[in-house]
């Protein structure tokens, strides 16, 4: 049960509350560039989600099996040269960036070639976005987030497993899709508006992004609220509090009720 709550929270947080675009500013380039038409934006969102999932899968695997201290593969290889204890200490996390980007670039290119060859209609509709995704910060950011929850975590209970990693990727991609589709909807609408010439294009897109970001700030704390509702934390001791005075302008009407 707790596990599902965790998954739910990761999903909520990644897709809405800490939206990749409006909260972390990753994936801005396609957000500005490919949000002119809803269909294209949706295609881009799907492509990002897809690649993000592949990248998350690869990076989680590489991190767990190769990079972190005591990872099976590196420990196994090192075992030939040194003592098992020393082998278990080998920390390759310094290679993480280079490995992730390597994996992303390769998988993107592979998928692109594959789709181009075997699904030409699909390629025409969303394949054109694939090369753009190689340089999409959102993908690498997802990998880094996953790494930060796998490597260097004190509490072994908090280390993410593959399920959580994939949730982050899927819902992060969903959040990206939501953001870019909303923006594309608005930009289609803007075609019917009389935007001042200097603001046409990227400038107005960013300003609108800002307004949506303000609106999304309303979700701050929703994750902890949901967490509290779904997963009562047992070890927080009950805080005794005094009921607070509610201001009533006419004191004789004061019928403040303390909730049970």
């Amino acid at each position: 049960m707790d596990y599902f709550v965790d998954i739910l929270l990761i999903a909520l947080s990644a897709s809405i509350i800490n939206n990749f675009i409006f909260y972390y500013f990753v994936g801005i380039c396609p957000f500005v560039g490919v949000s002119k038409k809803v269909d294209m934006a949706f295609g881009m969102g799907c492509a990002v989600t897809f690649v993000m999932s592949i990248a998350a899968f690869l990076s989680w695997g590489i991190t767990v099996f190769v990079l972190i201290p005591g990872a099976p593969v590196s420990a196994f290889i090192a075992g030939f040269f040194t003592t098992p204890e020393a082998a278990a200490q080998i920390d390759l996390t310094v290679l993480s960036y280079i490995v992730y980007i390597f994996a992303i670039a390769s998988s993107v290119q592979f998928v692109e070639m594959y789709v181009k060859k075997f699904f030409p209609p699909l390629y025409r509709s969303f394949g054109v976005f694939l090369p753009l995704i190689t340089t999409n910060c959102a993908i690498l950011f997802a990998c880094l987030t996953i790494m930060s929850h796998v490597a260097g975590v004190d509490n072994p209970k908090e280390v993410w497993d593959l399920g959580k990693a994939m949730t982050l990727a899927l819902f992060g991609g969903l959040g990206f899709t939501i953001a870019i589709v909303i923006m594309a909807g608005i930009r289609e609408e803007l075609e019917l508006c009389d935007i001042p010439k200097p603001f046409e294009g990227a400038a107005i897109t960013l300003v609108i992004g800002g307004i949506i970001a303000i609106a999304f700030m309303g979700f701050t704390g929703v994750d902890s609220g949901v967490k509290k509702a779904l997963k009562p934390v047992p070890h927080v001791s009950q805080v005794q509090e005094q009921p607070q005075r509610v201001a009533l302008l006419n004191t004789k009407d004061c019928k403040g009720v303390i909730m049970p």
């Binding site: 289609e188 075609e191 019917l192 009389d194």
Partner: protein, 456 residues
């Protein structure tokens, strides 16, 4: 809306949305139809109907008699033209019709003995129109006769009637709806016709029904015309013709809305009433059909109403087709000095024009002259505030503001997404628009854009 139930018919007697503009019919509704004397010249444009122009069959200098065919509609969707006067054919002229079309027209100068228009009108009014015995007529004969008489829809659209009533094996028609709604403000010609010549209408309806083999015949009148309803009911006694009283609402007279109100069916987009098993015809058209079949007279005259506060004496007139509008205006005492807009047709769907030398055509249902006060009432145009009033008013259930903006910003893709083709240009949206946008005009422009875009 749903509270109103039409007695004896499947429809509700009304349709969703629509508007209630002030009808201003009182200006001319009580004026008995006057007959205009034979004019000195008539100008007959070769295309007065929807479809292919007809072919001129007389040459310059030829003498023609009353009712002689001067233009032959050779194509299927076309209608012949007959001379309303006896006279001599002059050199062809170019005319610009109020709808913007520039056409060649046959000009005929009156010469010799004329058949007075009064006679034709009396015929229409006082003949004891037969009620029974139509089984002698073969449907196909009726259709042929209609075609030979050059009859087109006289409600305004001028669609050749013989095409409409052509028996069709694939789409059986079981109801004939005779449209006597006349929902346009100001216009009263159909109203007068229904009051003064209900017999011709009933006979015409029966004949038309015979042509299309319809079992049901319904004459539809809005409930703001009680006198017409009474007369029609009286005339239709002992026949299968029924009179349906519909709720007054604009655009009740539009084919699709009418069918929805009476039968409760919707005519498919891009389809004809026949697709719903219905044929719709205007009251004046069926009266003309009666005259054509029973008396063998072609379509040469029609009733128009000249109304509006900008004209000195609003009237309903029986005029020969082809007479210039300037003469019509003169007949009604001329324009008032504060007249600013001359409209061929009613104020909702009519065409404003400035050139009074244009002739009355088969499709001219009236002339409305508006004054400055009536036209300038609206405030200046502002930007659309997306209030959605046009959406509430649109009888076709469209989003007019979106269509108009798509046209203004040249986005045919968006326009076709919002079904621009379904628009019937009834003008409800522009009427209610608080921002005073020219929605209908923009939508019309959008249709042109969409066509160009789809051809690409």
């Amino acid at each position: 809306m749903g509270l109103f139930k039409l007695k004896g018919f499947p429809g509700t007697g009304s349709f969703p949305h629509g508007i209630h503009p002030p009808d201003n019919k009182a200006l001319s509704a009580n004026m008995t139809v006057e007959v205009m004397a034979t004019p000195r010249t008539v100008t007959l444009p070769l295309l007065q109907h929807l479809g292919v122009p007809c072919k001129q069959i007389v040459t310059s200098g030829e003498t023609v008699s009353y009712g002689q065919m001067v233009g032959k509609g050779e194509a299927f969707v076309s209608a012949s033209i007959h001379s309303p006067i006896a006279g001599k054919v002059k050199k062809n002229a170019m005319v610009t019709l109020p709808n913007g079309r520039r056409l060649e027209a046959i000009t005929i100068q009156a010469e010799g003995e004329q058949t007075p228009s009064e006679k034709i009108w009396e015929e229409m009014k006082f003949t004891q129109w037969p009620r029974h015995g139509f089984s002698n007529y073969e449907p196909m004969d009726i259709v042929k006769k209609i075609q030979a008489s050059g009859i087109v829809g006289l409600g305004g659209a001028a669609f050749p009637t013989h095409v409409k009533v052509m028996p069709n094996d694939t789409r059986a028609i079981d109801t004939l709806i005779v449209n006597g709604c006349e929902c346009e403000p100001y216009l009263s010609c159909d109203y007068r016709l229904m009051i003064e010549a209900p017999g011709a209408i009933v006979t015409g309806a029966l004949l038309t029904a015979r042509a299309v083999s319809a079992r049901e015949i319904v004459i539809c009148v809005e409930d703001n015309k009680p006198e017409a309803i009474r007369r029609l009911q009286h005339a239709a006694k002992q026949t299968v013709v029924r009179v349906a009283v519909l709720k007054t609402k604009y655009p009740q007279g539009s084919e699709k809305q009418l069918v929805k109100a009476v039968i409760g069916l919707e005519i498919p987009l891009g389809g004809l009433p026949a697709d719903a098993g219905v044929a719709v015809s205007n009251v004046q058209t069926v009266a003309t059909v009666a005259r054509s079949i029973i008396k063998g007279a072609p379509l040469t005259h029609r009733v128009i109403s000249v109304s509006g506060r900008g004209i000195c004496n609003p009237k309903n007139i029986f005029v020969p087709i082809g007479v210039s509008l300037a003469e019509v205006v003169d007949f009604c005492g001329g324009l008032r000095p504060d007249a600013v807009r001359i409209i061929s047709g009613g104020p909702m769907m009519g065409f404003a024009f400035s050139d009074l030398s244009a002739p009355v055509t088969k499709g001219t249902s009236g002339l409305t002259v508006l004054t400055r006060d009536e036209v300038d009432k609206g405030a200046e145009e502002t930007h659309c505030v997306r209030c959605g009033r046009c959406v509430d008013a649109c009888p076709m259930n469209l989003v007019p503001t979106r269509l108009a903006l798509a046209a203004r910003y040249k986005n045919p893709e968006l326009a076709s997404q919002y079904h621009i083709r379904a628009c019937v240009e009834c003008g409800c949206c522009s009427y209610v628009c608080p921002a005073k946008l020219n929605l209908v005009q923009l939508i019309r422009e959008g249709k042109v854009q969409v066509n160009a875009w789809e051809r690409r």
